[in-house]
Amino acid sequence: MQNESPSLFDAYDRGGFYDEMLTENGPRAHYQKLFQNLSAMSPHDFRARTELADLTLMNQGITFTVYGDEEGTEKPFPVDLVPRIIPANEWAHLERGLGQRVRALNLFLHDVYHEAKILSDGPIPRDLVVNAPNFRRNFIGANVPGDIYIHICGSDLIRDGDGTYRVLEDNCRTPSGVSYMLENRLILTRVFPGLFRENSVRPIDDYPSVLLNNLRSFAPPGREEPNVVLLTPGVYNSAYFEHAFLAQQMGIELVEGRDLFVDDNMVFVKTTRGPQRVDVIYRRIDDDFLDPLVFRPESALGVPGIVNAYRSGNVVLANGIGTGVADDKAIYPFVPDMIRYYLGEEPILEQVPTYLGWRESDLQYMKDHAKDLVFKATNESGGYGMLIGPQASPTEISDYLNQVMADPRNYIAQPLIALSRSPCFVEDKFEGRHVDLRPFILCGKDSVTIMPGGLTRVALRKGSYVVNSSQGGGSKDTWVLGESRNVMQQSMGSMVQRMEGGC
């Protein structure tokens, strides 16, 4: 008979993967305090806190609707309460690498919509860029304020079997998830206030202020008090919660396409006191749906004429139009070349080796090694259009290869990376689940701000590598630790001294 109550870590199996928290010799240094706290907690206690968190989410309406359920059942977005911790030195490395990347991507966009030198000079094949579905030919020559196209970038990072961070993709169009980053933090501070006192976690709550300041700074010249709005597809969009959340946090209007109209190449919003000019639009609608006059004519979400207003410089769109060419999965393998070409630097962050269906030798390799590779369609997101070779049946593979052969440009393949795992609360104990990390990068006119943290997404299904929320993924709060606790205590100490000595 055992007297000890069961620990949440009983029978925890790292399964041969890189575990974020544990090594064979116990917890990593930056997880030490958290590990002690969690070890002292009973499964019952942890479950109670999970239920509290779920209830908070339900009541706040942070839910998603279960599709195919006529009753319209709603479930809270799954948050795993074990935080993911990134020590200061690792973060400093990521911060440098991500900043370098987004600078290169913005330079690339400006280049391909102007002289396209990088295509003439050779590093990137012209064919891949100009025939990319999201390359907006009619924007060639258009200028945008500060030459910034990507104002908000969400890059996905993964860690491989050695724990090396690798960029999996950059989301340069309308990346989402930042509201979950902020909400997860809020929930954790409510459910585990004690943990924050013991770890020096860097705050992330100024994200909305930084974003708003940036957006205002891009306003057309002469607009003293710029009117910034957030354009959403509406309440039925899966990211609507985030749109409303950000608009509220920034104190700006949340508008739909039908609230806006264009007159004389200027954008106006319909108010109870008549039309009001709009200067900056943080849009969460894809290019395709933005303007029925230019893109999809059947789109009811957009605003007719908005693209011409944008081209005339009377309104600023964030992100800019045409950024999709920079996060095309077939362009992705060339980002290190962009960094070398535009910045004259070596890339700081690793990528994942990628085979292009567009390249004949790669295509042959993809066919021969399909069962070892992960296939992705180049312009899908949300975990759609994927095939995970090692987990697929021969029929699934051959069906998928038929699609690939019909349009090779549209597919890439990568080796299956053994994503790192992090302990998650599953049925009254901790089990390892695969995670990734999406930090959020904000570009101002001449500054790049990266929120210390990001959204750690979790593949909650056992053995699954797919972290997207549309595919049964959850998320975790992500803690970036301050330089060191001593530094903070020292500076606190000197403040106290100054205060004492100052009277």
Partner: protein, 332 residues
């Protein structure tokens, strides 16, 4: 503010009020039915259908008028656009559409109202407690309105919300009175002046002042939460004319047509900032006109010209006010 946001606020106000009015109506008639073997339940359920003006819609889809079907139709029917379920759901959807404009507490309250409501169904209402069910709906509406009062900035969002809420209330009060008038009193004619209190013991139970009659008018008062206030105002007893006077013209009773329309006028005047006597737009004109009538009319004049005709005009003019507010401010 954005016209669409104003529209959402206006409709949140209406739907939350409508959910409460519907719950009150069924609640009171439910208990009236239980207590009134003389009248029989079928008659009172008929009356409810008539108030709502949805008899046809009901008959298309339900074979029989009975407690279960009525409850389902008014409280849970997804195809009845005015069912409590749909009112609460639409209030929440409108709240979701402007959740950046309203306070987080308001949104959470709308959200909880809906989620809690989804735990009810006809079986549970009947087997558990109809009283608890109706109470939970009333409480849900009241909680939301209280939170709105306490947390929403004094400004346009609030004015549009309140305009919707009080316009709906005026309309609902008029409807309840109108239908009861017809349904309960087939023999009561408009040329009768305010009748004196009578002794219920000596009269035909179905006549004016009879048991059923008194019982019915008491139910009307209760269904708008007016019974106690009425008692304090009129010590002489419940008569149709007094009930009508109280519910239409009383300036202090919060659900009277006059008070409600006065509140709507306050809202539209605050939005425009117009302090002149004359209206500055169609919304002010429509609401000011009705409010003036209610301020200057006497109860006996209303009775003499026909209560039903008068109430029908009130309902029509409430609809006109809704259109005028929409045309003036909410078009998008």
């Amino acid at each position: 503010m954005l016209s669409r946001h104003a529209d959402c606020a206006f409709w949140i106000g209406r739907y939350i009020e409508r959910a409460e009015a519907t719950a009150r109506m069924i609640d009171v008639h439910y208990h009236f039915g239980l207590e009134s073997p003389l009248v029989g339940r079928a008659l009172t359920w008929e009356a409810i259908l008539a108030i709502s003006g949805q008899k046809k819609k009901f008959n298309l889809r339900y074979r029989e008028i009975n407690e279960r079907n009525i409850l389902h139709f008014f409280a849970f029917d997804q195809n009845n656009s005015n069912s409590i379920l749909n009112c609460v759901r639409l209030a929440r959807e409108n709240g979701r559409a402007i959740r950046d404009q309203i306070s987080s507490e308001m949104w959470e309250s709308l959200n909880r109202y809906y989620l809690d409501y989804r735990r009810w169904n006809v079986d549970r209402v009947i087997s558990e407690s109809p009283f608890a069910f109706f109470q939970s709906v009333k409480n849900g509406s009241h909680l939301f309105q209280g939170i709105t009062n306490r947390t929403l900035m004094m400004g346009e969002t609030r004015d549009f919300h309140d305009a919707g809420r009080f316009l709906e209330r005026a309309d609902q009060t008029a409807r309840i009175l109108d239908v009861k008038y017809h349904d309960l009193l087939p023999r009561f004619t408009s040329d009768v002046s305010i009748p004196a209190p009578t002794d219920p013991a000596v009269v035909d139970p179905f006549s004016v002042g009879g048991t059923v009659d008194t019982h019915g008018w008491t139910a009307v008062l209760k269904s708008v939460g007016a019974f106690e206030a009425f008692r304090k105002t009129y010590r002489q007893g419940v008569t149709p004319a007094r009930v009508a006077e109280f519910l239409i013209l009383n300036p202090q009773f919060p659900a009277s047509v006059r008070h409600s329309i006065g509140r709507v006028e306050g809202c539209v005047r605050r939005v425009s900032g117009n302090r002149d006597l004359s209206p500055s737009n169609p919304a002010e004109r429509a609401v000011g006109r009705l409010y003036n009538d209610l301020n200057y009319l006497r109860a006996d004049e209303i009775i003499a010209s026909g209560l039903h005709e008068f109430l029908e005009t009130v309902e029509k003019r409430c609809a006109e006010i809704g259109f005028a507010i929409g045309a003036t401010y909410l078009k998008y």
